[in-house]
Subunit: 252 residues, 2 copies
DNA sequence: TTAATAGTGTCTGTAAGACAATATTGC
DNA sequence: GCAATATTGTCTTACAGACACTATTAA
């Protein structure tokens, strides 16, 4: 963004006298849909259990109020991500802004939602100030829609706070669309230094919630990533159960 | 969104005592990139000339502050669109939210940007309270990038207020991506009741800023719109310079 | 040898794009 | 007939998906 420069004394006086409180203002939060994949290569989401009103005891995506004047809305999202998970410097994509009247019973709250993709090993989950618990939930689907479960605990959309179910749905939908033409999937690799085609395929499968054909996935991988230089073939191989597999590195 | 119901006396007391002013709050605006096509079938954008500080005399996309508690952010965008153009009930798509520190020299302003596609005949352009002028600008490109012109007046990105050049760029980029898989183009038809394939093609050409092959466009049109039932073939034809052309109706 | 995983090759259908050819109108 | 526009058809290339097949390792 270009730097704004005051051009006149008249304008300097205007800005000095500007009363920022003359318009009523809403609260603004940055909330984050934090997604990862688990040991079974299924998509998981980080939710916190609300310790205070409103929606006390409900599960919510992490987030918090913008420190007005001290940080941008993007920085607020990054700060919240770090506070909740210790994670810094990962993929954080702005999703959508939610501003319906009455979506928060306290006062008008505008929420700018973000999506973060974080490998599970990087997550150091802490329950923040206003949370009594924080857990990863496996995201599955049945006839009624999305089913979130963490071990024995299974929650429905009624257990989600505010309009967070809508936010989660939108995040997953957007991610599914992006995965075919953006490089989002690489953010979920366990080892950022090297990966196999099968490992990348499992991430795509988790996000799309369906199994993919390995030969066809390889063709796409070569065309979109190797031939374009986005990915480099390494000389090493990784010993697995069967034939050892070639390793690649994402030049992100 | 589901309705929130207070479940306990304790919570009712909490909400009654909640002090909404304990966190500092930013201003929030809804700004709109209003696009149309002109008589030469080229893409145009509505800009207003700022009558007051900051960026006095610069051109900006229309917008305004959220009426906190009285309207959602979507409704604020629709209200601003109506105030500036008299237009109601058209395509309004949320684009992105801008919240960098210092993007407005007065105070922290979070701007939720929208894109509106409006046929030129529907536009009844008025310069609002804080605007000294309002004009449609033709959007063209040269080696330096985007060039905006209205008759003899040509402006550069330095004549645009705030970070509005970035917002405009993003709106056009998003629209170009959407045009191939969403029904946005139909919003720009001069006559919503009937149109010809050539007319629709001209809208696609204006948005993509390149000419398209009519036979190939027809194939896409039949496959994506007619065969899917999104568009109905009418019995009438429209007399034009050469062979009369079939009319279609969008069942939007 | 068998199980398991990696990796190659082939076939089909769909779609994009270039472009030739035909059709129907007004003048 | 000619200009202008609409409309149909053909050819090539690219890509997605299904699936048969081969390769290499550990046990």
């Amino acid at each position: 963004m270009k730097k704004y420069t005051c051009t006149s004394k008249e304008e300097k006086e205007f800005l000095a006298k500007y009363d920022a409180s003359k318009f009523e203002r809403p609260s603004v939060t940055a909330d984050i849909v934090i997604l990862t994949t688990d040991a079974e290569d299924e998509l998981n989401i980080l939710l916190i259990k609300r310790g205070g009103f409103p929606y006390k005891g409900c599960w919510a995506i992490p987030g918090g109020f913008l420190n007005v004047g001290k940080e941008s809305i993007d920085e607020a999202a990054a700060r919240e991500l770090k506070e909740e998970t210790g994670v810094d410097g990962v993929f954080l994509n702005q999703l959508y802004t939610f501003g319906d009247v009455g979506r928060d019973p306290r006062t008008t709250v505008i929420t700018v939602a973000y999506t973060a993709l974080v490998p599970k090993d990087m997550l150091n989950i802490k329950a923040g100030d206003d949370a009594s618990d924080a857990k990863l939930f496996k995201i599955r689907y049945d006839v009624t829609g999305m089913v979130l479960s963490s071990g024995d605990l299974t929650i429905t959309e009624d257990d989600l706070a505010f309009d967070h179910e809508e936010i989660i749905r939108m995040a997953i939908k957007r991610l599914r669309n992006r995965i075919d033409y953006e490089d989002d999937a690489f953010s979920l690799l366990k080892d950022s230094k090297s990966f196999t085609v099968s490992e990348l395929k499992k991430i795509h499968e988790a996000i799309k919630n369906r199994s993919l054909d390995l030969p066809n996935f390889r063709k796409m991988f070569f065309r979109e990533y190797l031939d374009t230089g986005k990915v480099t073939e390494l000389k090493d191989t990784r010993p697995v159960k069967g034939k050892p597999t070639k390793l690649y590195r994402y030049n992100g």
